[in-house]
C-alpha cells in the first residue's frame, strides 16, 4: 500500500471511540480487580502457613534468662560465693540514641556518683553495640521503679531483675575465689559469640576460682517467650523455661578459718596458708591486703582501680601463690631432712663461733651458739651448723630434697597462676648464667652457693604455699598434694624417707616453740596441744652496715616468715605465714600463726584475741578498707569538672 488510510473522524464516531475505549478501560479495571483478589488469595491461602509463621516470629521473641551461678561453699557447706536477687540497670549501646541525655537522666534518677559516670562513659566508648554496659546493681526497688516507669523515654536502657554474685566474706576471700564481671569483647569472641554472653545481667568469672571453674559454675540459661513490639518493648510473657543453675562447688577451704586468717593479718601485707597435712586439703589461703570482690561485679571505677594498682602493699596480687620470697631459716627443716638423707648423724656436733670460714670468706651466724647438733641447730636457727653440714652434704642432695618436699614445684590446682620460684641446683645455675654472660655470677656452682642455699638465702625463692606443703610433708611424712576443690581422693602415700629423720626435724621444730627456741613467745595456750614451728627472716636487700633490714623504709625491711604444724603429738595441720617487711619471723609471723592454729582448736579464744587487735587497728577489715579508700580519694582523686547535669 502506498498511501496510508486516513479515517475521517467525526463527532459521532468519536463518541463511539470513547464508548469503546471506556469499556476497555472498565474491563481492564475488572481484570485488575480480579487479579488483585487472586493475588490476595494466593498470599492469604496458599502462602498462609509461611506468613503465619513469620508473623509469629515477629510477635514472639525468645529472651535468654542468665543461669544462676553455682555457689561456692566451704568444706562444711558454708557459702563463700552466692547469688543475690537484685535490681539492676544496663545500657545497650545499639539501642542508645542520645547517650548524653540518657546518661544525664540516669544520673538524676539513680544518684550515680561522678566516679561511676566516668566508668560508664569509658565502657560505653569501648563496648561493641550489642554488649550491655552495667550502669548500677543492687538498686533499691524505688530507684528501679523510677527507671521502669520512664522506660519509653529511655531507649537503650534495660532495667532487669537478675541475680548478682555476692561474697559474704568480702575481701577475706578475694584472692581465693576471684570475682565475676560482664564479659568483654574478647571473651565474647572466644566463645564463638554465644548469645548468652551479651545477655544483660550475665557474668563470667574473671579471676581466681570463678574463672578457672567457669564451665562448672555457669549452668544452663533459661529462655522466655515474650510478645514484643517492633521497638522491643515487652507486651507480655507467654511461657518460660527455667534456667538450670550451675552446680555448687565445694572447696576444701574452711570459710571461718579463711576469714579469721585474713582478718588476723590485719594491717600487714602478707599471707597465711593452712593445710590439712594428712590429705593436702587447703583449709585457708589468705592474702592481704585485698580488694572487695563484690565491688568488681558491676565494674570498678578508674579511681578504685588506680588506688588498688598503686598501693605498695599490692592488694591485687595473691601473695599466697604469686608472692616469691627467700625462705630464710624456714628452709632449714627441709635442709635437715637432706642432711640426714646424706647420712649425717643428727647427733653430730658443730661448734658455732658466730660464723663459718670458707676460704677467705666468713659466713655469719646470728649468734655464737657454741656446740650444736641438729636438734639444737633447728631450735636456735644456727646458721653455722647448716653451713658446715650443708657443705658436707652437697647441693645435689639438698636440691633433690627441696624438690621432693615441694620447692620449685608447680601444684596441680585450678588457679589462674602460681609462681613457683627457684630450687637452685648446679645444672640450674649453669643453664641460667651460661646464657646471660653479662650477669656477674659465674655459671658454675660454688661452695658459697651451697652455703647460702643451706640457710634459705641466695638463689632460693619460694611461695607461701610451697612453704606450707613442705612443712606439711615434714609433719605427716606423707607425700601430700595441695587441693582446693573437695573430692574423694586416695590417701597420700608416705614419703620414701626414714621415720626417724622426720622425728628429728619435728623435735627440733617442737623445741623452737616449746623449748629454748626462737619462737618461744608464740606457743599455743591450749591444754595438751603443742605446735612445732620454724621462724625465718628473709633479707630484702643486702645488709649494708649496721642497718640489717631491721629499721628504715618499710619496703626495705626484712620479711618475717613462719612455718608450723600442730598438734606435735599427732600432726594434723600445717601452716605457713609470711609477713612482708615484718622484720622477723618470730616477731611478726609466729604470733599470727599461733592465733590461726588456735582458731582451729578453740574458736572463742582466737576470736577474743582478734577482737582486741581489731580495736587497736581501728575497726573491722571492711571499715578500715573504706577509711583507706576515703583517704586515698581525698589525696589522689583527679579533680572532677563540675557536673553539668541537673
Amino acid at each position: 500500500m502506498n498511501r496510508r488510510y486516513k479515517p475521517i473522524v467525526t463527532e459521532n464516531n468519536q463518541v463511539y471511540t470513547f464508548t469503546r475505549r471506556a469499556l476497555v478501560v472498565g474491563g481492564l479495571q475488572g481484570v485488575l480487580a480480579t487479579g488483585l483478589a487472586a493475588r490476595m488469595g494466593w498470599i492469604a491461602i496458599h502462602e498462609n502457613e509461611r506468613w503465619k509463621l513469620q508473623s509469629e516470629s515477629n510477635r514472639v521473641q525468645m529472651r535468654l534468662i542468665p543461669p544462676r551461678r553455682g555457689w561456692l561453699v566451704d568444706r562444711a557447706g558454708q557459702p563463700i560465693a552466692i547469688n543475690r536477687s537484685d535490681f539492676r540497670v544496663d545500657l545497650i549501646p545499639d539501642r542508645l540514641k542520645e547517650p548524653d541525655r540518657i546518661l544525664a537522666e540516669l544520673v538524676r534518677l539513680l544518684d550515680l556518683p561522678p566516679d561511676e559516670v566516668e566508668r560508664i562513659k569509658e565502657e560505653l566508648s569501648h563496648a561493641a553495640g550489642y554488649q550491655p554496659v552495667p550502669v548500677a546493681e543492687n538498686l533499691p526497688f524505688e530507684k528501679y521503679a523510677a527507671i521502669t516507669v520512664r522506660l519509653p523515654e529511655l531507649p537503650g536502657v534495660a532495667p532487669l531483675r537478675a541475680f548478682s554474685r555476692f561474697y559474704p566474706d568480702g575481701a577475706a576471700v578475694a584472692h581465693l575465689v576471684g570475682y565475676v564481671g560482664t564479659p568483654n569483647q574478647e571473651e565474647y569472641k572466644k566463645e564463638n559469640k554465644l548469645p548468652l554472653l551479651i545477655t544483660p545481667g550475665f557474668k563470667i568469672g574473671k579471676e581466681g576460682l570463678e574463672k578457672t571453674m567457669e564451665p562448672r559454675l555457669r549452668g544452663k540459661p533459661g529462655a522466655q517467650r515474650v510478645e514484643v513490639t517492633a521497638g522491643g518493648t515487652l507486651v507480655r510473657e507467654l511461657s518460660t523455661l527455667q534456667d538450670v543453675s550451675g552446680s555448687p562447688l565445694a572447696l576444701t577451704v574452711d570459710a571461718g578459718l579463711q576469714t579469721f586468717a585474713a582478718r588476723r593479718l590485719g594491717e600487714e601485707s602478707g599471707s597465711v596458708v593452712v593445710l590439712d597435712c594428712l590429705t593436702g586439703d587447703i583449709l585457708a589461703l589468705a592474702s592481704m591486703p585485698a580488694y572487695d570482690p563484690n565491688n568488681f561485679t558491676d565494674g570498678i571505677s578508674q579511681n578504685e582501680w588506680k588506688m588498688l594498682a598503686q598501693d605498695e602493699r599490692h592488694p591485687l596480687i595473691n601473695k599466697a601463690l604469686n608472692g616469691l620470697y627467700p625462705p630464710g631459716s624456714t628452709f632449714k627443716p627441709m635442709v635437715a631432712m637432706a642432711l640426714q638423707q646424706a647420712g649425717i648423724d643428727p647427733t653430730a656436733r658443730i661448734n658455732c663461733p658466730g660464723g663459718f670460714q670458707l676460704g677467705n670468706r666468713f659466713f655469719r651466724c646470728l649468734g655464737r651458739h657454741g656446740s650444736m647438733n641438729m636438734h639444737t641447730a633447728i631450735a636456735k636457727s644456727c646458721n653455722t651448723y647448716f653451713y658446715a653440714m650443708g657443705r658436707r652434704a652437697g647441693i645435689d642432695i639438698i636440691s633433690a630434697m627441696g624438690k621432693r618436699l615441694g620447692f620449685g614445684q608447680k601444684f596441680d590446682l585450678p588457679v589462674v597462676s602460681q609462681n613457683y620460684g627457684t630450687m637452685p641446683s648446679a645444672p640450674w645455675k649453669k643453664a641460667r648464667f651460661e646464657k646471660g654472660k653479662k650477669l656477674v655470677e659465674r655459671p658454675d656452682w660454688t661452695e658459697s652457693d651451697t652455703l647460702n642455699t643451706a640457710i634459705g638465702q641466695g638463689f632460693v625463692i619460694v611461695n607461701p604455699l610451697q612453704l606450707a606443703v613442705m612443712v606439711g610433708r615434714v609433719a605427716s611424712g606423707l607425700d601430700i598434694q595441695p587441693h582446693i576443690v573437695r573430692a574423694k581422693r586416695p590417701p597420700p602415700a608416705p614419703l620414701p624417707f626414714a621415720k626417724e629423720h622426720f622425728e628429728t626435724v619435728r623435735s627440733g621444730m617442737w623445741e623452737v616453740v616449746n623449748g629454748a627456741g626462737t619462737a618461744g613467745r608464740s606457743r599455743l595456750e591450749l591444754p595438751g596441744i603443742e605446735m612445732g614451728g620454724k621462724t625465718g627472716t628473709a633479707q630484702v636487700r643486702r645488709i649494708t652496715g649496721s642497718q640489717r633490714g631491721q629499721s628504715g623504709d618499710w619496703k626495705y625491711r626484712d620479711h618475717g616468715l613462719f612455718v608450723c604444724f600442730a598438734p606435735v603429738a599427732n600432726p594434723r595441720y600445717a601452716c605457713s605465714v609470711v609477713i612482708e617487711h615484718g622484720m622477723g619471723g618470730a616477731r611478726a609471723a609466729a604470733p599470727v600463726a599461733k592465733d590461726v592454729l588456735t582458731y582451729l582448736f578453740d574458736k572463742e579464744r582466737a576470736m577474743a584475741s582478734l577482737t582486741k587487735f581489731e580495736e587497736q587497728w581501728g575497726g573491722t577489715m571492711a571499715e578500715r578498707m573504706a577509711a583507706r579508700a576515703q583517704r586515698w580519694l581525698a589525696a589522689n582523686a583527679k579533680p572532677k569538672p563540675p557536673e553539668g547535669t541537673r
Partner: protein
C-alpha cells in the same frame, strides 16, 4: 419524578454510589480504630470528621453545573500552581520531601489538588479540539505545555509518586480523548525499551534500590524491603477470615509500618482476612464502575472526559496502592482513597466524587427530559 417522604433533593442523590463510599469510609474508621489499639484517637474520629466535612463539600460541588467547572478550569489550574509554589517556599518537610502546607486541621498536599485541575484543563482542551484535529500533533504538544509547570514544581519537592500518577492519568485521559491507538502502543513499546536506560541514568541510588527491592523484597527483609515484607506478612497471616477485629499483631505491635496510611489495607486484611480484603476490592470496583458509567452516560464531550478522567484518578490511587501492599508494585507513598488516614487524598477523591455527582445529575436531568 418520584414522590415520597424524603425530599426530592435527597432522594435524587446517587445512593448506590454513596452507600459504597460510606462503606469504604466506615472500613477506614474501623481499621484506624484498631490500628490505634482500639481507640478513636488519634485517627478514627478525625477520619470520620474529615469524611463528613468533605462529603458536605462534595454535595456542595455537585450542585454546580458542569459549565461552571468548564469556565473555571484555568482558574483552578492557576490556583494550583500558586499553591505548589507556596509549598516549595512555606511547605513542611515530611518523608524527605517538601510536599505539604500546614493548615492546622489538615496538612494539605497541593499536588493532590493539582490532579483534579489537570483533568479539568485537559478535558476542556480536548473538548474544544474539532474531531479531525485529534489525530494531529497539535492535539498532543499543548498537553506537554500544560503539564510542564505542575510536574516541574512537584518534582522539585521531590515527589516522584505523584508525578508518576499525574503522567499516567494524563496518558489515560488522552487515550479516552480518542487519540490514535498506535501512539499508545508505540509509546508503550518505546517506554518498555527505555526503562533500563532510565533506571541507570535518571533514578537516584535510593530509587534504584527501591526498584531492586520491589523485584526481590526478601533479599533485605530488615532494611528497605521491610515495608513490603511486613505488609505481606500481615495479609498472608490473616488467612481467609482474618485474626479478628482488634486482634492484628502485625499492626498492634507496630511491625507494619505506616499502618494508618499507605498500609491500612494490610492492617485491615490481617484482621478481616481475605473476605474483608475482597470486600474492599469489590467496593472499589463498583465505585469505579459507577464513575465509568457516569462517563458513558454523559452527553457533552467535556463531561465525558471529566468523568472518565476523574474516575481514572481514583482508579490509579486504588490500583497502585493495592498493588504496592501486595508486592506487585514498588513502595511509593500513595494512600488508599477514603480508607487511609490523611486529608489531602480524601479531599481530592471527594472533589472528584462531587464533580462526578454533578455530571451524574446532568445525565439524569437529560434522561428525564427525554
Amino acid at each position: 419524578m418520584r414522590h415520597g417522604l424524603v425530599p426530592a433533593g435527597i432522594a435524587d442523590l446517587p445512593w448506590g454510589m454513596l452507600w459504597i463510599v460510606f462503606a469504604l469510609a466506615g472500613a477506614g474508621i474501623l481499621g484506624l480504630y484498631s490500628a490505634a489499639g482500639g481507640s478513636l484517637f488519634p485517627w478514627a474520629l478525625m477520619h470520620a470528621a474529615r469524611f463528613t466535612v468533605f462529603l458536605g463539600l462534595a454535595f456542595f460541588l455537585s450542585r454546580f453545573r458542569m459549565q461552571t467547572f468548564h469556565d473555571l478550569a484555568w482558574l483552578g489550574y492557576a490556583g494550583g500552581i500558586v499553591l505548589l509554589i507556596l509549598t516549595l517556599i512555606l511547605g513542611v518537610i515530611g518523608g524527605g520531601a517538601r510536599s505539604w502546607l500546614e493548615l492546622g486541621f489538615l496538612r494539605l498536599q497541593p499536588s493532590e489538588l493539582m490532579k483534579v485541575s489537570i483533568v479539568l484543563v485537559l478535558a476542556r482542551f480536548y473538548s474544544h479540539i474539532p474531531p479531525r484535529e485529534t489525530r494531529r500533533f497539535s492535539a498532543i504538544w499543548p498537553v506537554g505545555v500544560f503539564l510542564a509547570a505542575p510536574i516541574g514544581l512537584i518534582l522539585l519537592q521531590p515527589d516522584l509518586g505523584t508525578t508518576m500518577l499525574i503522567v499516567l492519568n494524563t496518558i489515560a485521559l488522552m487515550f479516552m480523548a480518542g487519540l490514535p491507538l498506535r501512539l499508545f502502543i508505540g509509546g508503550g513499546l518505546l517506554v518498555g525499551a527505555a526503562l533500563p536506560l532510565v533506571y541507570h541514568t535518571l533514578l537516584l541510588p535510593h530509587q534504584q534500590e527501591r526498584v531492586l527491592i520491589f523485584l526481590n523484597p526478601e533479599a533485605d527483609p530488615l532494611g528497605s524491603g521491610y515495608h513490603l515484607t511486613q505488609s505481606k506478612i500481615a495479609i498472608g497471616s490473616g488467612g481467609i477470615f482474618g485474626k479478628g477485629f482488634l486482634n492484628g499483631t502485625q499492626s498492634h505491635l507496630h511491625y507494619l509500618p505506616e499502618q494508618h496510611t499507605d498500609f491500612i489495607f494490610s492492617a485491615i486484611a490481617e484482621e478481616w482476612g481475605l473476605v474483608g480484603g475482597v470486600f474492599l476490592i469489590v467496593l472499589f470496583f463498583l465505585l469505579l464502575k459507577w464513575g465509568m458509567g457516569v462517563a458513558l452516560d454523559a452527553k457533552g464531550k467535556f463531561e465525558r472526559l471529566v468523568a472518565a478522567g476523574l474516575s481514572l484518578t481514583i482508579f490509579f490511587y486504588i490500583a497502585i496502592n493495592l498493588m504496592m501492599v501486595m508486592g506487585l508494585a514498588p513502595v511509593v507513598g500513595i494512600p488508599l482513597p477514603l480508607v487511609s488516614y490523611g486529608g489531602s487524598a480524601m479531599l481530592t477523591v471527594m472533589i472528584c466524587l462531587g464533580i462526578l455527582m454533578s455530571i451524574d445529575r446532568g445525565n439524569r436531568a437529560e434522561r428525564s427530559r427525554r
